[in-house]
Symmetry: C2
Subunit: 179 residues, 2 copies
DNA sequence: TAAATCATGTGGTCTGACCACTTGAATGAA
DNA sequence: TTCATTCAAGTGGTCAGACCACATGATTTA
């Protein structure tokens, strides 16, 4: 019993196909994609399925739709993003390390920002999961909080114990803060 | 000319509505959502629009669909990382600051991790958007890179100019690194 | 020439129809 | 009764066709 149980639905397949077409047709950022009806024909799937795929891609920010005009490949500063997201979403496997690192980066970055504040007292921070939780809360940045929450949730353990890196980092920041 | 030109499409509105229903019905993780047909009735929109919304939510990892059974609110433990951004971008109001801060945090955290490396040369880093881009690339962490890319894209400008915070931070890190 | 009009193409949405699959109740055989 | 089979209902998956709203460019008109 592998995990590959469900044959990819049309709309998932459509996403891949559309990406292939983008490559094949050499569609660059800002360029127009084939119309939904044309895609429907070329992929031999219904327009609804095409739309579901496009909507998903749009939600991810990969494309942009303009009523009456067409669908455009979003003007991303760097492309490469398409395959990246694709691989990440579809075959997410040994990415746990990435997630773990991601968590550390969020915490580090957050602390770094905080530590530059004049009234920050390093000693009052104890590097526990709960402490970070409060920190995220206090930040007032819901995006940050959400991200951290989910990543924490997924990343599992690892958190809680004070990282050496954190201590060292904070020391440094504190130092420049007093100089 | 404000930016709020286009009235939110049905499928975007549907996403919000569905989230409201989830709240109103007190649907917990793992619980079943109303069927597509029921949602269609309750939201007074066509089933296709409901589906487009659901497909998007599914791609974001927020829900899970099981053919013949129904649609379920996904168990948070599962991977749904990209998501945040997507969900976030939707009610993008005055969240731009958050996104901007988020970007800074990612960059700070990343730099912090990097700076602790013995062979890191602070002077070779110039805080440009391109430099960060390289950094993200070099990290080998596709999740990090992707998030940064997306956030950069949405955050717009802001990047590029060396932040004072970054400079100070790096100085501190460098200091402890030499002591 | 310049403005108004129209045809065409595009995304946005709805409806109704099947299909494939799951589940649980109804039915039948042991 | 008990267990296996069958069957009806519900659900997501997909499709085709029909409109609508909008943008664009060619056509017609003043």
């Amino acid at each position: 019993m592998t995990e590959s149980k469900r044959p990819p639905s049309k709309f998932v397949a459509a996403i891949s196909h559309i990406q292939e077409i983008i490559k094949a047709d050499r569609i660059k950022r800002g360029d127009k994609l084939p119309s939904e009806r044309e895609l429907s024909e070329r992929l031999s799937i219904g327009r609804s399925s095409v739309r579901e795929a496009l909507r998903a891609l749009e939600l991810l920010g990969l494309i942009e739709t303009r009523r009456g005009e067409g669908t455009y490949l979003r003007d991303f500063k760097d492309h490469q993003l398409v395959p990246l997201i694709g691989t990440f979403i579809f075959n997410d496997d040994q990415k746990k390390e990435h997630i773990h690192d991601m968590k550390a980066i969020l915490e580090l970055g957050c602390l770094a920002l905080l530590a530059v504040q004049p009234d920050f007292n390093q000693n009052s921070f104890n590097y526990t999961e709960a402490a970070f939780h409060e920190l995220m809360d206090a930040s007032g940045n819901s995006l940050l909080k959400k991200m951290w929450l989910i990543i924490s949730d997924y990343g599992g353990d690892s958190g809680g114990q004070a990282d050496e890196r954190l201590t060292k980092l904070l020391s440094g920041i504190r130092h420049i803060n007093h100089s």
